[in-house]
């Protein structure tokens, strides 16, 4: 029977994996995917905390707060993905590459 710790470890693992990808990968599409991974790691953590630690007293909303957060994050992530991919396509049209290390107009 898996407990809270297992879910938290899974969430943290996903987040770290995503962070590494976002920081280290050079392909912009993979960077976006890595960011999705980070968000989903968070989602697991939120839902796990909600399942195991939701208080049984107080206002009713607090019993669902973690799940509502997760739903918001999914919605925001969808929007972010749409915007991010649009930017990637626009950059590709201009520069014919999606390698983030080649997009360095702001270098000093």
């Amino acid at each position: 029977m898996p407990g809270l710790a297992h879910f938290l470890i899974l969430g943290a693992a996903l987040f770290c994996l995503g962070t590494f990808g976002a920081l280290a990968r050079r392909n912009a599409v993979v960077v976006l995917m890595s960011i999705e991974l980070m968000l989903n790691g968070l989602n697991i953590t939120f839902v796990a905390f909600n399942r195991y630690l939701a208080p049984s007293f107080g206002p009713a909303a607090s019993a669902w707060a973690g799940q509502v957060f997760a739903l918001f994050i999914i919605a925001v992530a969808a929007a972010e993905a749409a915007l991010g991919l649009a930017i990637v396509i626009a950059v590709y049209r201009l520069r014919h590459t999606v390698q983030v290390d080649q997009i360095d107009l702001m270098r000093g």
Binding site: T19, A22, L23, A24, V31, V100, D101, I103, D104, L105, M106, R107, G108
Partner: protein
């Protein structure tokens, strides 16, 4: 005619001549000359009318209008206006009279006669003829305006205008480097004095709130001006007079100003403009009288200039420069008289001097015209060829030397008497009297030297030239002959017993005293003896040649060289300005370029270097920034965890 209308005619007639000849007569030379002579003649006739009314009917004019109103200063107005009183009337007469004669004379002077190999004369007209008459008309306008001004402000405006005309006319032959340099020297040197004058104007206005002579006079009469204010104001005004009247230590420009045409020297640098400084002191005499210190300074500078300039006149070989030093010296006499309290004596000498000194310059111009040189060593024996010029210059020279009954004797003895009786310079009186008396001897000597070197003896110049040396044409000779009249007669106006001039002029403004009746027979006899002694020594050295001039020169040794070198003042000023002042300016420029600009440029360079140093931080790679953010997050998280542990 009404006095005000006459004053306007005096101002506007030469002004109209100036404007018309400037606009219309650039090539029509007869028109320019004719317009100017006509304009000045009208001004002269109007001046005569003014003089008749002021002398005969004691008419006065004092109109003042606000020119600019200054709202922030409680609506105080800068005032200009016209004033006619006895002093003005006398000055108008000599300015317009000398100007008229000089304008007529110039017509001949600007036509040079040259002889070809067959001895045929060819007349060359100076190419700047129209320009000359245009500036002369402007000068006459400004000088008459200066005399007529009822406020210090208008006087200053005209003062600067005559300075400008002096500059333009000294540099009339501007293609000659010496003339261009002399014009600049005159302009800059007088400007130095004018700076003090301008500060004095501002100071007096600040202290009294008025520029008008009549109002200033009323303030002095009511003792509303503290003595310190009177002293500072009077000395600042006097600094302008020192520059304009070529008094020591600003005397250096006048000898060089002789680079201009000789009629210009006669009108501007002998009879009128240089006298403006004396006129200014006489005009503001009530202010000077309020301050014994200022009077003493005026007397000392005047007395010193009188003897100092005369010593330089003794040794110079250039006929015009001797006259120029003589002018300096005589202006010093006038300042001395004013400083001693002798308004009547000082202004009377100004009046008589303007006639005989103008005559001296015109005759010198005639000599130069005939011989083609200004060096007296290359003249001689001209009495045979230039009899009219010779007589005129002899009379003018004797008047300058102070031989009775010529004009200079009466006015100069008035000055000696004024110094003798002076109530203002008590302590310095023996010194000043000695200066004045020695100057009498020196003046007679250098005038005698000029006369004997020029007209006596044998021709020492180019023998080829001698047959062509000729008397001046009628247009030049007549003005000289006319000038003989005041040279001989003007002095009788202030004869002892009547002192008509003194009593006439003392009613110009309110004065503590004018020393209107100064004549001491014993002093006069002594000064005549000195003058005759000077002439006799000059005759012995340069006429009969019983005393060797070279031996005398050797006897005086280095003094002769110093005097010939203008006592080193020109070198001193050259050194002061060219070396000390320019060196100081170079040092300041180096400080500005090195230190001030160095700081400014250093700040800019340091900023750029700092930016260059930090530039690699901006990689433009979004992931680098993300690494930094993430690293920072970890640092913050670790810090919080460590913090919560402790």
């Amino acid at each position: 005619m009404e006095l005000f209308a006459l004053a306007l005619v005096i101002l506007l007639a030469p002004l109209a001549a100036f404007v018309l000849s400037a606009l219309l007569a650039r090539r029509a030379w007869q028109l320019a000359g004719g317009l100017t002579i006509t304009g000045v003649a009208v001004a002269f006739l109007a001046s005569l009318a003014v003089f008749a009314q002021v002398y005969g009917h004691e008419a006065r004019l004092d109109v003042t209008v606000p020119w600019l109103t200054i709202a922030p200063l409680a609506g105080r107005a800068l005032e200009i206006g016209l004033r006619i009183d006895p002093l003005t009337a006398v000055m108008l007469l000599s300015v317009s009279g000398v100007s008229l004669l000089v304008q007529i004379y110039s017509w001949g002077y600007l036509h040079e006669v040259e002889f070809d190999e067959h001895g045929h004369p060819h007349v060359h007209r100076d190419p700047g003829f129209s320009r000359y008459y245009t500036w002369m008309a402007l000068f006459t306008t400004s000088m008459l305006g200066l005399v007529l001004a009822s406020s210090l402000l208008l006087l200053f405006v005209c003062w600067e205008l005559v300075g400008l005309c002096s500059y333009l006319l000294i540099g009339y032959w501007y293609e000659r480097p010496a003339a261009a340099l002399a014009a600049k020297k005159a302009f800059l040197t007088t400007r130095l004095g004018d700076l003090g004058f301008l500060i004095g104007l501002a100071y007096l206005w600040w202290q009294t709130g008025t520029f008008t002579f009549s109002q200033l006079e009323a303030l002095v009469a009511n003792h509303a001006i503290p003595p310190l204010v009177a002293t500072v104001g009077a000395l600042l005004l006097f600094s302008g007079a020192v520059g304009k009247s070529a008094q020591w230590p600003l005397h250096v420009w006048l000898p060089d100003a002789m680079e201009g045409p000789t009629p210009v020297s006669a009108l501007i640098h002998a009879a009128t403009m240089v006298a403006a400084g004396v006129y200014l002191v006489a005009r503001a005499f009530f202010l000077f009288q309020h301050s014994p210190e200022a009077m003493l300074v005026v007397a000392l500078i005047g007395g010193f200039t009188a003897i100092f300039a005369a010593t330089m006149g003794l040794v110079n070989n250039d006929i015009k420069r001797v006259m120029a030093y003589s002018t300096c010296s005589q202006l010093g006499y006038m300042m001395l008289a004013l400083g001693a309290g002798g308004l009547a004596a000082g202004t009377f000498h100004l009046f008589t001097h303007s006639w005989f000194k103008a005559l001296l310059f015109l005759t010198a111009g005639s000599v130069i015209h005939a011989t083609g040189t200004q060096d007296m060593r290359e003249m001689g024996g001209l009495r045979a060829k230039l009899p009219g010029t010779c007589w005129a210059m002899t009379l003018a020279g004797l008047a300058l030397a102070g031989i009775p009954p010529l004009a200079g004797f009466w006015s100069k003895d008035g000055i000696l008497g004024a110094v003798f009786d002076s109530p203002t310079v008590v302590a310095a009186k023996p010194l000043l009297l000695a200066f004045a008396l020695v100057t009498v001897f020196l003046t007679a000597f250098y005038m005698g030297r000029v006369l004997f070197l020029t007209f006596g003896g044998q021709w020492r110049g180019d023998p080829q030239r001698w047959p062509h040396v000729h008397e001046a044409p009628a247009v030049m000779l007549w003005p000289m002959l006319v000038l003989i009249v005041p040279t001989v007669l003007a002095g009788f106006w202030n004869m002892p017993a009547q002192f008509a001039y003194g009593h006439f002029v003392e009613h110009s403004l309110l004065y503590a005293h004018t020393l209107a009746e100064q004549f001491h027979p014993e002093l006069a006899i002594f000064s005549i003896a000195l003058a005759v002694a000077g002439l006799v020594v000059a005759w012995a050295m340069y006429g009969a040649r019983v005393i060797s001039a070279a031996a005398v020169t050797r006897a005086f040794g280095p003094l002769y060289g110093w005097a010939l070198n203008r006592w080193g003042f020109d070198h001193l000023y050259n050194w002061l300005v060219g070396t000390v002042w320019v060196g100081l300016a170079r040092g300041i420029a180096a400080f500005d370029l090195g230190v001030i600009d160095g700081i400014v440029n250093g700040v800019a360079r340091a900023t750029v270097a700092l930016g260059q140093a930090f530039r690699p931080l901006q990689t433009g790679q979004v992931q680098t920034y993300a690494w930094v953010v993430f690293g920072g997050l970890i640092v913050v998280a670790v810090a919080i965890m460590l913090g919560s542990r402790i």
